[in-house]
Symmetry: C2
Subunit: 556 residues, 2 copies
């Protein structure tokens, strides 16, 4: 039976004028309040982690931008049934008065979106969205303490977000005593569930420490436990250099917008000063290959859409250097290896850092570190365990030094792992799946703009250029791994032979003793001789297998 | 060797004041331009489909809202290498002058976000984003024609989006001759690749017609082919009734915002008029279970955060009816069955429409139709083929009558399909995967607010309430399917026996003929007798198996 007849109302006939009364602006806060799952607030077990992550990423960015070694404190306090108070405090530069309310009380406000440079945050959404989710679930406003210098008192603000207008509503504001030199502390309450193990705050902080050895983090968990993730190096990574758009990969619409907004008077100076890697000669070369309407002295504001398309084509064909490698800062091969050795107990480690590549005009660098073979140490609690022969490889994903804990299946990193043919390197791999075996792979993508698959920044969109670079990096380490696996297989075969010899030669000798009536001494000498001969036919001295075990000589 | 030392610049030490100069507003257009993959513009093969989809969904919504039977025309014209001009025209109510520019030239503007009612669009993003992507890739503005009545001339607007400020920039505007009574036509150019088969415009339109039998669509493809998806029923589905938030599932922050903004003077009238399913008695009951601070005559504007939490708890415990079923309009069991029969050639069909359920205060309805067993007709070109015994089931996903073609793995529908134990119903199913066999499942989720996993609206977020309802619906049809599969297995066993009898009885008879020296007539009679006896011991008359084939008696 159809239920249609029972549902809904008859349709009134409405004209455009009546319908027009319904249309209105949608504030970006309302939009994300309704679509909060896009920001990572789709499950109680994830809400606390998402909020902590936004605050921690912001805090580290702020410290690094100011040239300060980050020291963070994260406090999570249980306030009632399923309600937690989160506080994240940093030793960063603090925030000037006029910006405090906007940074925390307005979505899409920030310093990182418009600069082409690598940072953890990039959207101007995360911390205000965390406060908004807290407000939605507990009704409580955020509290911010910040101090910019010892010469000025700290400021305290209590604020909520006016979601209908996407603007801060300040409940209280004033000077306050706070015994730190400079830094920021943000506090908010939200509904959630505190979990341990996989997808926990602890896992996130541990992996953050792994990719950021210059950061110190203290965690006070809801049970009052204090966990410290200590600083391992006392040196900040170099600052990524802000860059201009690269002529390869820039899109027509962006070029058009830049031409319209430029203060340059001629096309030649526009090209030299507003694109990266374009000097006077390249600019002249480019304009020599365009149609006659475009000349070095043309007014950049007077170009038609057809002119811009012509210019774009010429730029795409021009010989220009790859983007400035200093605009993207990888963790580095040796630091990655050190980090993975601390995290995983394994037999062999390999790592590689690729050269910068470009997608859509944005430079990016892929680097990976790989750990293989079960280690001989005792498994350390809370570290990444090495899987068995039949378990899928463990993949640790990072983007701009931030661990990615969710949405693995939609991520370019997982896709690349699956698309590489690991059987070539001696591993087994079900079709369309991760390789099996004792393998942990850490993949880091650093870019001036990471294309995340959602605002919650849980996975990297599989743009073909990025996918390609990750696969090349994996294949590079895969080839090194192949040699190691082949050697291990040879060694295992040798060991098997050796065991066979050791097991059977004494029996043969006993038989010979009876047959030839040998003395015990003659028998023992015969055993030794036999072993020597048999091992010699294997091509290796009898003691060789000892020195071959437990050695780790194969990393690049 | 570490590459760290070679990359990046030394860190300057910067203070809060210097850093402050960098922070600024981010316009929502800039945000989505940079994150265009969130809107579905991440691959050339997908861009055209995404843009067509946004325009078509909007056109159907507009017609239905105005009470008009939708007739659409989609034109896709090749304009150059990888550049296409798309035009979508409808017979809807047209758009009043003052709103044309905002609807097409501004992101987050629309009529559907703020009303709690089922529609295809809901975000006020899609059509303006399509134009913005066209502008980015080709530099060309959008062109809009619209007419609201025969008494007024049509209007033409040529506009682009000022992305720095998220506002329309009108290049040309004026009256124009257009020989239709009312309707809207939008045209834009974009870069893309026109593809056929899976994930094509044609697939999208065919499945749209399937779920919307009251819609007529004409397609002119880039090769000039005309394809018509005809109207099958001449009756609009009933209009979903706009609803107020339901007391179960409303969140603290929203209740707080509603209380702050209400024009009601007392808490009792607020509850009765601004929530659905709350009458005078329920309001009184609710306020009898709150603390003494909340009384029927309390001022709703004077509640503290603690009061609101108290009220929310009382509302959550109150006995209220399920949400108005008329706020959500499913396709209906019989219409779904008819649609699936047109699409798939199969032996048996089942369907079910669940009652409305609620997640986060939003009502939703799940309905499914299921086709099983290879049909006997010839496969029709361009329709959904029935898979073989070893191929995974085909899942056709729909949300508010819109087909979902991408991101299947992240979708609540796929997750529910995988989580149901189909082995219980006689199908084989690898662990963690779709069931195998000749099975096509159509799942439709209708809701006043569908929680999509991204702005491109490709998949439904797996909220537990939604997942649960889909699984119940699948299990319902699964049980009906189980009976059919068991019957088919019995029938197959019978047929096998029958074949065995038919094959061996003549041999037995020949042997008897020689042994007992029978005439040919006696032998034939013996064969017939033997068959009768053997079939009788199977409990069924010999001709029974004919009438059991090809019959389709098992749908609900």
């Amino acid at each position: 039976m159809s239920l249609r007849a029972k549902r809904g109302s008859p349709r009134p006939r409405l004209g455009a004028e009546e319908l027009a009364t319904r249309a209105r602006n949608i504030s970006v806060s309302e939009f994300f309040l309704e679509n909060r799952h896009l920001l990572g607030y789709d499950a109680p077990g994830k809400a606390i982690l998402t909020a902590v992550k936004e605050a921690v990423d912001n805090a580290i960015d702020a410290c690094e931008e100011a040239g300060l070694l980050p020291a963070l404190r994260v406090e999570i306090e249980r306030r009632g049934d399923g309600v937690f108070r989160i506080a994240v405090e940093d030793n960063g530069p603090g925030i000037v008065d006029r910006q405090i309310a906007k940074i925390f009380g307005k979505l899409l406000y920030g310093s990182k979106f418009h600069k082409l440079g690598q940072s953890r945050g990039q959207q101007g959404l995360g911390i205000s969205a965390a406060g908004m989710y807290g407000q939605l679930t507990t009704g409580q406003p955020m509290r911010i303490l910040t101090r910019t210098s010892t010469r000025r008192p700290a400021r305290e603000l209590v604020l909520s977000i006016d979601t209908a207008h996407n603007r801060p509503k300040v409940h209280r504001e004033g000077a306050i005593d706070w015994a730190i030199k400079h830094g920021t502390r943000v506090e908010f309450e939200l509904e959630g569930r505190y979990q341990r193990g996989q997808h926990s705050v602890e896992e996130y902080l541990r992996l953050t420490a792994l990719a950021n050895p210059h950061v110190r983090i203290e965690l006070e968990d809801p049970d009052g436990n204090q966990i410290v993730y200590p600083r391992v190096v006392r040196k900040l990574p170099p600052a990524p250099r802000a860059m201009k758009p690269h002529p390869h990969g820039i899109e027509l619409g962006r070029l058009q917008a830049m031409l319209g907004a430029t203060t340059r008077r001629t096309l030649a100076t526009f090209l030299q000063h507003q694109l990266s890697r374009v000097g006077a000669k390249t600019a002249a070369d480019v304009l020599a290959t365009t149609g006659p309407r475009l000349r070095p002295e043309s007014d950049p504001h007077a170009l038609t859409a057809r002119d811009v398309a012509d210019l774009l084509r010429a730029l795409g064909q021009a010989h220009v250097s790859a983007p400035d490698p200093q605009s993207v800062v990888p963790i580095g091969q040796s630091a990655l290896l050190r980090a993975l050795r601390r995290e995983v107990d394994a037999q062999a480690f390999f790592a590689t850092t690729r050269r910068p590549a470009v997608y859509r005009g944005n430079p990016f660098v892929v680097e990976i570190a790989l750990a293989w073979g079960p280690g001989r140490g005792r498994p350390r609690a809370g570290r990444t365990p090495m899987g068995g022969a039949d378990s899928p490889a463990t993949v640790l994903r990072f983007a701009n030094r931030v661990p990615l804990l969710f949405s693995a299946s939609g991520c370019a990193i997982t896709k690349a792992m699956v698309e590489v043919d690991w059987r070539t390197y001696g591993l087994s791999q079900p079709s369309g799946a991760l390789p099996l075996g004792p393998l942990v792979v850490l993949v880091h993508v650093a870019s001036s703009w990471v294309p995340f698959t959602s605002e919650s920044k849980e996975a990297i969109a599989p743009y073909s250029e990025i996918l390609h670079e990750i696969k090349l990096a994996l294949q590079h380490c895969g080839r090194q791994l192949a040699a190691r696996i082949a050697a291990a297989k040879r060694r295992q075969r040798d060991l098997d032979q050796l065991h066979a010899i050791e097991r059977y030669v004494p029996h043969v000798a006993l038989a010979l003793q009876q047959l030839l009536d040998l003395s015990d001494a003659e028998r023992d000498r015969t055993v030794a001789d036999l072993e020597t001969i048999l091992l010699a036919t294997r091509g290796e001295p009898a003691h060789a297998h000892d020195s071959m075990l437990g050695e780790n000589r194969a990393h690049a």
